[in-house]
Amino acid sequence: MDKKSLRDGFGEKLVELGKINEKIVVFSADLEDSTRAEFFKKAFPDRFFNMGIAEQDMVGTAAGFAKMGFIPFVSSFAVFLTNQAYGVIRMMACYNRLPIKFVATHAGLTVGEDGASAQSLEDIAIMRVLPEMKVIVPSDYYETKSVIEKIVSIDSPVYVRLSRADFPVINKENFDFQIGKGNLILDGKDATIIAVGVMVSRAIQAANELKEENISCRVINMSSVKPIDENLIIESAIETGCIITAEEHQIYGGLGSAVSEVLSRHYPVPIEFVAVNDVFGESGEAEQLLDEYGLSVENIKNSVKKVINRK
């Protein structure tokens, strides 16, 4: 599979949208070169604001623009944006119901060499719990572009989680993201793997390899983590009898928890979680870290076998 950059998708789509919508303004905490918000900065310097290394102030300022009818996109690294500005996001975006779009890059272990201080593995959990907030984790470049376009018209705060590393392209160029809808990528009958982000491509690889062992897996890209596609989860639980979740995130509070919440309320079946097991990461290469921290294709395959045995 070819690889393409999700943050490039974000930056490119932002420029396209900026041309047709004068209400879009973009904020950065001095990381626009890395997040690719600088594409917008170059195209529309009057509507771009580098707020300095001050995430709380950045989010508050964006809230002021939202109060004046603008559509603010706020971008930074996931770890800084969601942690440093959490109180402001909760209070000014969510409690005040302002439709600020938070686009965080550099989430997860695939940040790589900078190590644990920059590797956000908690952001899905802490953003998901906020009332009003929607959480989206795109799987590739094309999905990212569709997500960025769709969230402009969503009248609530939205958190979009992107990565530093290039991810394999799994969707078609005209991919049409729909909030609240999962995307069935492969059908199967023995187990369902529900994945987000880079783990979608790994889930596809695992499913293809398991075919050779006569295990048939359904693979779902659940990029809309909140609101989540309850019907698709329940339907898959009924039809395949067990679930595996896969995410580049801590095991607590993320996609696995969100899927479990649906299953335990509506149709409990055995579930296994492929996620980082309550530890911090470290320096290393992106792919190497995924493999070393329990997110390998091999581990997905083992989890599939384990959960099938529990049926």
Binding site: M51, D57, A63, G64, M68, V88, M91, Y95
Partner: protein, 271 residues
Amino acid sequence: MKEDLIKKFKEMAKSFRKEILEMIANAKSGHPGGSLSLVEILISLYFYKLKHKPDDPFWDERDRVILSKGHASPVMYVTLANAGYFDKKELFNFRKYKALLQGHIHYSVPGIELATGYLGQGLSVANGIAMASKLLKKDTKVYCIIGDGELQEGNIWEALMTSAHRKLNNLCIILDANGVQENGFVKDIKNEEPLKEKMLAFGFEVFEINGHSFEEIIDVLDRFGANEKPFFIIARTVKGKGVSFMENNHNWHGKAPKKEELEKALLEIGG
């Protein structure tokens, strides 16, 4: 003319103070100290300076007021009710379940722009409104009221840098420098002085006034508009102003007066 206005304002201040204490006593909780310190400032803003229409709270051309110290809701609610934004009888449902008037100010109340109550956040939003107004080429004025206890929050200093760096001359920051926070005096807990020198160094046009003198408040507000730098008013005030046993007493930061205390306070305020 101005003398008549000030005479009228002084009478209003007395009745505002009474209404503030009555609504807090009725709610059995709330923040009297930092409400009483802001009475003269809010009267001067809402009944003298602001461009606003109480019967049209979302009028596009209105000036914006962000009360960052959102726990001073009683003085804000009393001011808005007296200005005609909503029925004064709502004051007696303050802090009650399903009531319009939440404990900390909320945007569902006509006249409130922004829900606050989580200290340190309001100035960044005020900056954003000021920046957006400039981008839209509007002459909206933005007033942001912050507290001196609140000034210990880091977010505010990030925002102060932004106000100055972005040359937001359509922004007027009013610091309610009452010198007292929940557990004591600001100077003992985390000293912030010299405030005037700090704000000058940041790049503000700074004025230091007696925040209970209508003459001084009106005079300084009259100067706002012709400034090139963002405007910073250090309003020296007294926490709990007007009630002897509440003045400069941190115990009255967030406590409701009991029946006898209320009666004593109302008698002292007089008028």
